[in-house]
Assembly symmetry: C2
Homo-oligomer: 255 residues x 2
C-alpha cells in the first residue's frame, strides 16, 4: 500500500483537486484507492458528493476518529459511487484536533498509529491536507510514504515552496525517515500568460528531478466538477484537465 | 481608527491581495494605513517588497511580538516605499504561536491587548490572516472592528462561507461583540464563465446586504504585481484590477 499526502501550506493551489482526481484516476485504472480528507473544510468530501449535513456522528464516522481514538481505516472508510474508490470523510470538528493534540507526547504520529493498525486491501491511500503546517498536516506527513506538492503557476505560490521542503526534511530527520517527495505538480497553468511559463521554468530550474512532466492546465471544467460531486474523469472525460490527471496517475504508477 | 481583518479559511481566495490593495488604495486617498501580516506565509510582506531574509530578529521585528509580549503597533510597524502605508511584517515563526497560546487563559485576545495599548496615528489597520480558523485568525477577529470576507467566484469557495459566518457570530457573542461584517467581496470573477455568474448570483441571493457592489475581475496583472513587490495601483494603475480595488476602497470609506 502506498500512502501519498497532498501538501502545501499555500492556499488554493489544487491540493484537494489533485487528491480527488489522482485517487479517481487510480481507481479507474483498477487500483483500489481510499481518499482521507484531513482538512476541516472537508472539500475532498464535498468534491466527491458527500455533505457534512449527512453525517450522523462527525466524531465517529469521519477522519476525526483516526486522530482521537486510533480507529482503523476500515472503521471509517465508506464506498463512493465510483468503483474502487472509498473515502474517509472530513469534518469541521478537525479544527479541535489541532488544539486537543498539543498536550500529547505522540501528537504528530496519531494518524500513523491508526494507519498502521489498519488492514484494508486498498493499494493507494491519498490524503488531502489543510493549507497550513499545523498538527493536522504534520500528522499526515508522518503517516505518509510520499508527498505530492501542488504548486499553482503563480508567484506567491512559489515563495512558500522552500519552507515546505524544509518541513519535509525535518519530518524525514524526525518521525518519518521513509517520507519521499513523490513530485512537485504544476497546476492551473495558463498558456496565455508569461507568468505561468516563468513559474514552470523556475520550478524546472530549481527542482529538475522533482517536477512531474504532467502540467495541469487551468480550465473552468475543473472548477465546475466539484459542484456536481464528480471527479473530472467523470464530469468531463475528454477535457484537458481529465487528460492531465490521467497522465499524472500514470506517472505516479511508474515511480 | 478602523481595524479591518480579511478572513476566509478557504485558501487562495484573495485575502492577501485584497488586504494589500485595500491598504494601498486607502493610503493613496490620503488615509494613513498599516497592514498587519498575521499569516506565517508572510505573503502580504512579500507582496509589498519585504523578504523574510531581511529581518534581523523575526521574534522582535515582526507581528510575532504582538502575540508574544504585547508590543505596541508602533514598536513593530515600519514604513513602506508608498506614502501613508506602513507594515507589520509576518514571519514563519507565527506557526509556533498557535501552539504556544493554547495554554493561556487569554489565548484569543492577545492581539487585541497589543492593539489597545498602541497609540499610532493611522486611520486604518488592515489585517491579513492565514487560511484557517485557528488561534491566529481568532485573535485577528477578536482584535478587529470589522471583517471583509473575500470569496473566489468558484464553488468550493462558496461552501465554506456559512461556517465562517458562524465563527464570526460566535466571536460576536464571545470576546468581541463589536465585530461587524464590513462586506463579502467577490474575487477572481471571470466574465467568460457561467460558474462565476452562478456564484455571484448565489452570493447576491444569500447575502444581499453584505455583498460589495465592487466585483474584482480575474486578471493576470493582479497575479504579476506581487512578484514586483507592488500593489496593483502602482504596478498597473489603469488596469481593471486597480480600478476594482479603488472602487472597493471608496465603498469601504462610505460604510
Ligand atoms: N486546473 C484547474 N483549473 C481551474 N480551476 C482549478 C484547477 N484546479 C483547481 N481549480 C479550482 O481552484 C480552486 C482551488 O483549488 P483547490 O480547492 O483544489 O485547492 P486547495 O489547495 O485544495 O485549496 P485549500 O488551500 O483551500 O485547501 C477550486 O475552486 C478548484 O475548483
Ligand atoms: N483578481 C485576481 N486575478 C488574478 N489572480 C489573482 C487575483 N487576486 C489574487 N490573485 C492571485 O491568486 C492567488 C491567490 O491570491 P491570494 O494569495 O491573495 O489569496 P489568499 O486568500 O491570501 O491565499 P492564502 O489562503 O494562501 O492566504 C495569488 O497568486 C494571487 O496573486
Ligand atoms: Mg483543499
Ligand atoms: Mg494570503
Amino acid at each position: 500500500m502506498r500512502v501519498i499526502a497532498l501538501a502545501n501550506q499555500k492556499g488554493g493551489v489544487g491540493k484537494t483537486t489533485s487528491a480527488v482526481n489522482l485517487a479517481a484516476g487510480l481507481a479507474q485504472l483498477g487500483h483500489k484507492s481510499i481518499v482521507i480528507d484531513c482538512d476541516p473544510q472537508a472539500n475532498a468530501s464535498t468534491a466527491l458528493g458527500f455533505f457534512e449535513s449527512d453525517i450522523s456522528d462527525p466524531f465517529m464516522d469521519t477522519c476525526y476518529r483516526l486522530f482521537s481514538d486510533s480507529a482503523k481505516l476500515e472503521d471509517v472508510a465508506i464506498p463512493t459511487q465510483f468503483p474502487g474508490l472509498s473515502i474517509v470523510r472530513g469534518t469541521k470538528h478537525l479544527v479541535g484536533i489541532e488544539i486537543e493534540l498539543v498536550s500529547f507526547e505522540d501528537r504528530e504520529s496519531r494518524l500513523r498509529v491508526s494507519m498502521n493498525a489498519s488492514s484494508t486491501d486498498a493499494e493507494f491511500v491519498i490524503i488531502d491536507t489543510p493549507p497550513s503546517l499545523g498538527l493536522l498536516t504534520l500528522n499526515c506527513l508522518v503517516a505518509a510514504d510520499e508527498v505530492i506538492i501542488p504548486v499553482q503557476c503563480e508567484f506567491l505560490s512559489l515563495s512558500g515552496l522552500a519552507r515546505l521542503l524544509n518541513i519535509v526534511r525535518a519530518v524525514q530527520k524526525g518521525d518519518n525517515p521513509y517520507l519521499k517527495v513523490c513530485g512537485v505538480l504544476a497546476t492551473m497553468f495558463d498558456s496565455r500568460t508569461k507568468l505561468s511559463r516563468e513559474v514552470t521554468n523556475d520550478l524546472a530550474n530549481h527542482f529538475p528531478d522533482l517536477l512531474f512532466s504532467t502540467v495541469v492546465p487551468r480550465s473552468v471544467k475543473m472548477a465546475e466538477a466539484p459542484s456536481y460531486g464528480l471527479p473530472i474523469v467523470e464530469y468531463a472525460p475528454s477535457s484537458a484537465g481529465a487528460k492531465a490527471y490521467m497522465d499524472l496517475t500514470r506517472e505516479v504508477l511508474e515511480k
